[in-house]
Amino acid sequence: MSLLSDLWDPFASFGFMRRALVASITLGMGAGPVGVMLQLRRMSLIGDAMSHAILPGAAVGFLLAGGLSLTAMGLGGIVAGLGVALLAGLVSRRTHLAEDASFASFYLTSLALGVLIVSARGSNIDLLHVLFGTILAIDGPALYLMGGITTLSLCLLSIIWRPLVMECVDPGFMRMTGSRGGVYHMVFLFLVVINLVAGFEALGTLMSVGMMMVPAATARLWTRRLLPMMALSAGVGMAAGLTGLLVSYHFSLAAGPSIILTCSILYVVSLLASPTGLRAGRGASSWQGS
């Protein structure tokens, strides 16, 4: 009885807990599948790079709006993230530089620019602090933004699903049939960027990558089929949101890290328990296998 009320009461009595729960469920639903796709495309660390690339855009948005404007910071973040993605994509398709190399140089440029802008402005409300986000402070407009982004990204993902998977598996086939793989790739990077922007309000730029990649890696340990993997990844993210919030409530721990660490615990448990995890030994979980 008391256990049940411990689980239920926080959300029944407090609006901020309900909003935080909806926010983490929304984030998990959007970011989980995108994370699986990133992993499938062997771009797991690109999410990390993109989260840094978003910083200057959000900073400029913050300065132009003269305060914590969600719209301005979100738009700025999307513009900066897409800019980096476009430039990196262009360079890697026009030169012999690998995509991760050009990503690295562009996101570092972007990050340095961001830090420069932040420190030139001084520290009226430490902007980096703002970028660390507080899931406990989510309000209505932020929820609408997240909901919209998750809806958009799930829709877009289902539209570009087939060509995207095709391009992952066999980029040569796409080129031969004359399809424009590059376009799908850019749409996908757009999805990565908007999901990170949705996450930075709640968890901060760094933590939102955690919500994207850790559930994806966990899901990969349990299934090889793409759709169940995406569903599982979203589920892990949502469950971690719920558990992390309850832990933060009952043990007075910081909320954002509690959520990500719950994801990590699920990941470690999966590593130990799943048939393709550590028990299976090396090489059992390669993408090309069989």
């Binding site: 407090f14 901020f16 001084g122 520290s123 721990l253």
Partner: protein
């Protein structure tokens, strides 16, 4: 144009020739860690001291990213003032980077630090200046330090320090009488982080905040929930934002409790000149005005 310039040049010469009358008084270059302290140093130093503040107006003194220019200021300083009690956690790194080997004057060392009952570990509250008697102690510490650095101007420092202390005592009396006009059960205020512990103890006001003593910590859901429950029990109707702190969390608490915004308090940073709190005394009056307006029974 040229004539104009010539005149201003002459004026400058005039100033320069007047200056040495005070027995070759040199101007001390003082550096203070943050704006509130810089203002007090400027009042005690008068014309014999130029003060720069490392943390700019409206800047958060807990978290500060020093620039190379700050390191230069620190190296060239004749005397350095900081508050202490764990406020300027960034100072050690800056001093090391600037290879500053002097001993900064810790103005709060003579003040008995207060550890709030709910605080974790051995955390003391660094926001000593929000109680005026503590700033009187600051003033005396600063006066002695300036006299030690520049004995020739000792008389001037003593005179301006005692004039400033008189102003501070008037301010203290004023705050006391205004707060005591409020019924005791209404003296409760919601702010964004615990910066007013000394104010609360000196003048008998209870402060509540979702964030702890430092702005560097992240809030937990449990603490926010406890705060909302407390506010429901005590019936606070107004909340305050602070000029140097992230307002989103306190706004969330306000939404849950129906509290209305009461304005912006200046807890640990002055405003730029022309703002509502350009110096310490104006800052304390501004904060008291806002809080009294919020606590008044309606």
């Amino acid at each position: 144009m040229i004539v104009h310039r010539l005149f201003s040049l002459l004026g400058l010469c005039g100033l320069l020739s007047v200056a040495p009358v005070h027995a070759q008084a040199r101007t001390l270059r003082a550096v203070a860690s943050f704006t509130v302290l810089a203002d007090v140093v400027a009042h005690v130093g008068g014309t014999h001291v130029t003060v720069t503040s490392l943390v700019p107006p409206d800047g958060d003194p807990h978290e500060f990213e020093p620039s190379p220019d700050d390191a230069r200021q620190l190296r060239q300083a004749d005397i350095v003032f900081m508050s202490g009690e764990g406020l300027e956690s960034w100072f050690g790194r800056l001093a090391h980077a600037a290879s500053y080997h002097g001993q900064p004057v810790i103005v709060s060392s003579a003040i008995q630090a207060y550890t709030p009952p709910g605080a974790q570990q051995a955390e003391t509250d660094p926001h000593v200046w929000n109680s005026v008697p503590n700033v009187v102690i600051w003033t005396n510490t600063i006066r002695d330090a300036l006299i030690a650095a520049d004995p020739e101007d000792a008389d001037s420092f003593r005179a301006s320090a005692s004039a400033y202390v008189t102003q501070l005592q008037a301010l203290d009396q004023d705050i006391r009488s205004r707060i005591s006009a409020i019924p005791a059960d209404r003296r409760r205020v919601l702010t964004s982080h615990d910066a007013f512990g000394y104010y609360g103890r000196a003048y008998g006001v209870t402060f509540m905040a979702p964030q702890g003593l430092s702005t560097e910590t992240e809030a937990s859901a449990g603490n926010v929930a406890t705060l909302i429950r407390q506010i429901h029990q005590t019936g606070i109707t107004t909340y305050f934002m602070e000029n140097a702190t992230d307002p989103r969390l306190v706004q969330q608490v306000a939404r849950a409790t129906g509290a209305q915004p009461g304005g912006e308090l200046y807890a640990e940073a002055l405003s730029p000149p022309g703002g509502p709190a350009p110096d310490y005394i104006t800052m304390m009056r501004h904060n008291t005005d806002l809080m009294v307006a919020a606590m008044r029974p309606r």
